[in-house]
């Protein structure tokens, strides 16, 4: 009743405008935190579902999920940076595999862990640099370059492992780190926290990050305001290589082994999470916070389904559908706001 009284005293347009504004605040909040709310909803669902209520909401299970997903999340951060400039890095998984295999084999030959880590990360960094040079100097399309790179790396990894899993000689201290906890949280989660903070800081609080977003928004305009387009395009791929290399050596410490099959499983989930990052926290922009939410969303969904006894093919279907629906919703929200550009790939697509 009070609203009617208000309508009589103030001009109708004013009331209309106010109503629209509260509506838009609500929808803005929904855009930002919708995916997070859905994730919490899913967690609650699996906590009360009879099949999983015993196993899902235990701290052991949640820690296991978090620990396992940390590596995937770091790989996804590696995919995120090129995606900010609207480039796909399809070599994420293969490069991760390369890092883990070379790290494991160095450890197996009795190298010091620190050196072995350096070998793994260094290999991936070189791959990132090669991608960067091929794309910016030889002007080869990024998707083609990284697809070719992924295929070639797969070959290198198989050659190095001769198709076997590398498990021997990996020191206890290193696997202990991957399985261990600090202040009650898995060590890998702490590593992720540091890396994610670094990526967030770079993208959000440094000129470099701003330049990357400008490149992603309009390459031509970025060039004409004086940006070194090639330099920053290359830098994005180099940073991707660095992060993926780190994910690779962490994977060795987490699983205590490395094989030619490790890498490929990371590419699509990493890209999926990076894409979904545009649907949360800062909608319409691929961002670090959104990426962590996206990882949590996919991990909760898969972890729950896993415990509920679902076949693996179910989680494949769910993952695929979640990606398409999530990105579709983000685009829908963007259009609702009158934003002309949907979340899609810019140049060359």
């Amino acid at each position: 009743m009070s609203t009617i009284g208000k309508a009589e005293t103030s001009p109708p347009s004013e009331v209309g405008r106010r109503r629209v504004r509260t509506g838009s605040i609500l929808s803005t909040a929904l855009e930002k935190y919708g995916l997070l709310l859905i994730t919490i909803g899913i967690a609650i669902f699996f906590s009360v579902l009879p099949a999983t209520s015993e196993t899902f909401p235990t701290s052991a299970n949640l820690k296991a999920i978090a620990g396992n997903q940390s590596v995937a999340a770091i790989a996804a951060l590696g995919a995120l940076i090129p995606l900010v400039i609207r480039e796909f890095d399809l070599s994420i998984g293969a490069n991760l595999g390369l890092s883990s295999v070379f790290c494991a084999s160095a450890l197996g030959s009795g190298w010091l862990p620190l050196l072995a880590i350096g070998v793994g990360v260094g290999m991936s960094l070189v791959v990132g640099l090669t991608n960067a040079l091929l794309i910016t100097r030889l002007k080869i399309n990024g998707v083609i370059t990284t697809l070719g790179m992924a295929t070639a790396l797969q070959g290198v990894v198989i050659w190095r492992t001769k198709g076997n899993a590398l498990v021997e000689g990996i020191p206890k201290s290193w696997t202990k780190f991957g399985g261990g906890t600090f202040l009650g949280m898995p060590n890998t989660v702490w590593v992720l926290a540091v890396v994610a903070l670094g990526v967030y800081f770079m993208l959000q609080h440094t000129p470099m990050g701003r330049y990357l977003y400008m490149l992603g928004s309009n390459r031509g305009a970025a060039q004409l305001v004086g940006l070194k387009v090639k330099l920053y395009t290359g830098a994005a791929f180099v940073m991707a290589g660095l992060l993926v290399g780190l994910a690779g050596v962490l994977q060795v410490s987490r699983s205590g082994s490395a094989s030619a099959a490790v890498g490929e499983q990371f590419t699509l989930p990493a890209l999926a999470a990076a894409f979904l990052s545009g649907a949360a926290i800062r909608p319409g922009r691929f961002n670090t916070g959104g990426l962590l939410v996206a990882i949590a969303f996919l991990a909760t969904l898969n972890g729950g389904l896993n415990l509920a006894g679902a076949q693996t093919y179910v989680s494949d279907i769910v993952n695929g559908a979640a990606l398409v629906v999530g990105v579709g919703l983000a685009g829908f929200f963007a259009r609702q706001r009158g934003q002309t550009q949907d979340i899609d790939l810019g140049g060359g697509w």
Binding site: V20, F201, A222, V225, Q341
Partner: protein, 517 residues
């Protein structure tokens, strides 16, 4: 129900839009706008940026579904909430939009066939001979200087727009039930091509074609449109017969009684001509540009007039290091300006605002503040992090200084009107206090009110000590703003004018020598 700005009525309209409303998020783009088009009339739809005219056109095209309202075409009534693009097409509505929807990397013939379908032969084979022959006929009819097999991206924006117009019209001749809607179609066209287009449009109107023109160029409507509907803030403020209207009357309709009036002419910027030129160009040859000499002084607005293809844009791009010159020298403050990238040019104090704002200047999905600081991001680096609070504060100041209308520094650039986006682009460069400010058609697609404000900004840039190089296809703009105007004809320096120049003399000079084609 006599509304204030209404004169006459449209008898048996072919198209009626009734009380159409549309909101985007919290923005009410249209508030019960109505429109009536008389058969075989030329109808002008006018209004400032953000007045809702683009939205109205998009509702009519079935691109946006309205929130309420009705659309009636040829006596058939549609609900505007469910009016689709195919409804619009089958009702005979044909659109040519501001951004020509042409396929740039395809040939002219393919572009024309894209709309009407390809002539097919045995087994569905495309009869290229027929397709090309048809294209040749259409090109001849619209007097477009292209061949059917030319790739469209090799043509100037103006020619591309003309192909888009031709594509919409190609099958319309003689059909009296069709309605052609031109949405800022002339924005990229220069004088003679506009004339060519308007002549053709008059011919079609005389044959029974109904035409609606949405334009910012008031002078095009005088003596051309039969009737005018004016929108302001999403509502119709006038629907009048255009016959007796003068240029000033129409400007008043767009701007409104309390807007900036047309005679807000500023005192001319003081021509503080220093003894030495800021920019000195000698014997420059690049692309179409041949053997060009000129000096530009700090504090002046040096205009460059010329038709499309005269080399205006090439000249500016070369100074900005985007094209390699074949011969000649460019000196800035007496020192050679040998730059081959935008980065280097900017470091030397050169700023360049390209013609194609959407494609080459704006970051549409970033905020106003981010767009404003695009040229100075590094200066916000505080050693540890970007000083984003200072950035936003500066942006708020700039928005006030440059009269940028937006909900705030965090508004996405794409939510601003074209004129306000352009002010953001100008402010972005001005804040660097450039030595040379180069503007390529800065008011293209900008409404009268915002245009006035941009003119003030350009004058201010000059009075603050920049040498402003203004290339424009709008001769009135050049005459009004420039201290001197150089006319480029086929890449060579034609006539030059001082403050005494007027648009007609410029126009004539620009046309001189282009007749041989």
């Amino acid at each position: 129900m006599a509304r204030p700005g209404e004169s006459g009525a449209v008898a048996s309209p072919i198209l009626r839009a009734e009380k159409v409303s549309k909101s985007f998020g919290s923005t009410r783009a249209l508030r019960g706008a109505s429109l009536a088009l008389g058969r075989s009339q030329i109808h002008g739809l006018i209004g400032g940026n953000g007045s809702g005219k683009s939205t109205l056109i998009k509702v009519l095209a079935g691109v946006h579904a309205a929130d309420e309202g009705h659309i009636e075409v040829n006596g058939v009534t549609f609900d505007a909430r469910s009016f689709t693009a195919s409804d619009a097409h089958s009702a005979g509505l044909r659109f040519v939009h501001q951004q020509p929807s042409v396929f740039r990397d395809m040939t002219v013939a393919e572009n024309l066939a894209a709309d009407r379908g390809f002539a097919r032969g045995v087994a569905g084979r495309i009869k290229w001979r027929d397709v090309n022959a048809h294209a040749a006929k259409v090109l001849e009819r619209f007097e477009i200087g292209l061949r059917p097999k030319d790739e469209l991206l090799t043509a100037s924006p103006a020619l591309q727009m003309m192909v888009a117009v031709a594509r919409a019209l190609q099958d319309q001749e003689g059909t009296e039930d069709g309605i052609l809607v031109l949405d800022e179609a002339t924005a990229a066209l220069t004088g003679p091509e506009v004339d060519l287009l308007t002549q053709a449009l008059r011919r079609y109107a005389a044959q029974g074609q109904t035409i609606m023109v949405v334009t910012h160029r008031v002078e095009e409507l005088v003596g051309f449109a039969d009737r005018i509907t004016a929108l302001r803030d999403g509502a119709v403020v006038a629907a009048v017969d255009a016959g007796p209207l003068t240029h000033e009357n129409i400007v008043d309709l767009i701007v409104g009684p309390d807007g900036l009036s047309d005679d807000a002419g500023e005192p001319d910027a003081v021509i503080g001509r220093a003894s030495d030129p800021a920019l000195s160009v000698r014997g420059l040859s690049v692309g179409r540009v041949r053997d060009l000499d000129f000096d530009a002084y700090a504090g002046e607005v040096l205009g460059f007039a010329g038709t499309v293809g005269s080399g205006r844009t090439t000249l500016l791009r070369t100074i900005f290091g985007q094209q390699q010159r074949q011969a000649g020298s460019i000196d800035l403050d007496g020192k050679p300006l040998d730059v081959n990238s935008a980065t280097q040019a900017i470091t030397r104090g050169v700023a360049y605002l390209p013609e194609d704002r959407g494609g080459l200047a704006s970051f549409p999905d970033m905020t106003v503040a981010e767009n404003l600081s695009a040229s100075v991001v590094g200066s916000y680096w505080g050693g540890m992090r970007l000083r984003s609070r200072k950035e936003r504060r500066d942006a708020t100041d700039l928005m006030r200084q440059y009269r940028i209308h937006a909900s705030g520094p965090d508004a996405l650039l794409s939510t601003l009107s074209g004129g306000n986006q352009q002010k953001v682009m100008i402010a972005r460069w001005m804040r660097r206090k450039p030595r040379i400010l180069m503007l390529d058609d800065p008011t293209q697609g900008v409404d009268v009110g915002a245009r006035r404000e941009i003119y003030k900004l350009i004058r201010r840039a000059a009075s603050e000590g920049a040498a402003v190089l203004l290339a424009s296809s709008d001769f009135e703009e050049l005459a009004e703003l420039s201290t001197r105007v150089l006319v480029l004809v086929n890449g060579r320096l034609g006539a030059s004018f001082g403050t005494d120049c007027d648009s007609e003399r410029l126009h004539r000079a620009a046309l001189a020598g282009t007749g041989e084609k």
